[in-house]
Symmetry: C2
């Protein structure tokens, strides 16, 4: 028996990503988000939703570019800090002990210590209400060389990313494999 | 040292959700997606990206409503099947042994067996390329009553949702808690 919780942002799981952008003075900034996801395969695109009140929002809009740095679970305190502090008040990279690296293809910084980065060129801006959705075209993905699996794909257990649980506001690690996609449901096709 | 993988949809983690919609004849349909996420807090909104070629795409566009059913890990075979088969060819609910339930507030079906459902009214349609992004206003969230934590929030370990790893195309369960959000990074604020 299901119980109603009302009109709330209680979807799960949601990703834990750090959006990086330079401000108009060229200072690197980054903030943690959980409202985002891939939104197109061709061209490859990814959406992140930011409140207009955040410093990063203005940076992304002004420079037309952003990165998504994917943290590992052991970065959780720095990740949480990047969601609490504002780049308006401080150098968040320095305060978190993180190193800004210039993206190769877009005008935005990423977090050198995090294992994976997605470089995005701002393609569309969708005003939705409290949040603005920035849709970025993915122009490159970079990962630590040791975190590829035998087939050359990013290893999810290797990256050890976080997920966020809205409502309870908790971070979680990824657990065990649950099956191969486009494969484990095939027996049902033959019924 | 990071290595470049090119312009690909390799963000992680991504959610595993089943989008439900009625077709123009009122038949329930559902398909599995991993391209989606929350995109606004006020009004609460969620985005799902579907290829125009899918049967569900036409259903959502025609009826102006959809649901997101959140599966548990033990539903993985049915979930994968719902991403492989098309509602154009068969009754996917019947083939997967799943029960369509009519949403309370929107003109769309959800999967009764799955622990959580998000009812969405189609608010905006954003054409991006291969995928169309359907932005839904969340009008209700329902969850099995036994899956709330002590504070009344949806329990992520209770729901036991799946994540998808693009590239390796694997499903994974959620693992251990990694910390409390808006909390574990506070010590860095005082530095």
């Amino acid at each position: 028996m299901k119980t109603s919780l009302g009109a709330k942002t209680l979807a799960m799981p949601t990703p834990v990503w750090c959006v990086g952008a330079y401000d108009t003075d060229g200072r690197p900034n980054a903030m943690t988000i959980a409202w985002g996801g891939i939104c197109c395969s061709k061209p490859p695109m990814l959406a992140v939703a930011l409140r207009a009140a955040t410093y990063t929002h203005g940076c992304v809009a002004a420079r037309g570019a952003f990165t998504v740095s994917v943290p590992s679970a052991h970065h959780v305190a720095a990740v949480d800090f990047l969601g609490l502090a504002s780049g308006r008040d401080m150098d968040k990279f320095a305060a978190a002990g993180l190193t800004p690296a210039r993206a190769e293809f877009v005008d935005a910084p990423y977090i050198a210590e995090f294992p994976m980065v997605i470089e995005c060129r701002l393609a569309q801006t969708v005003e939705l209400g409290l949040h603005t959705q920035f849709i970025g075209e993915i122009v490159d993905v970079k990962i630590e060389a040791g975190l590829l699996d035998d087939a050359g794909h990013p290893s999810l257990p290797g990256v050890d990313p976080l997920v966020f649980s809205p409502g309870s506001r908790g971070y979680y690690r990824i657990g065990e494999s649950a099956g191969a996609a486009f494969s484990c449901g095939r027996p049902l096709l033959k019924k």
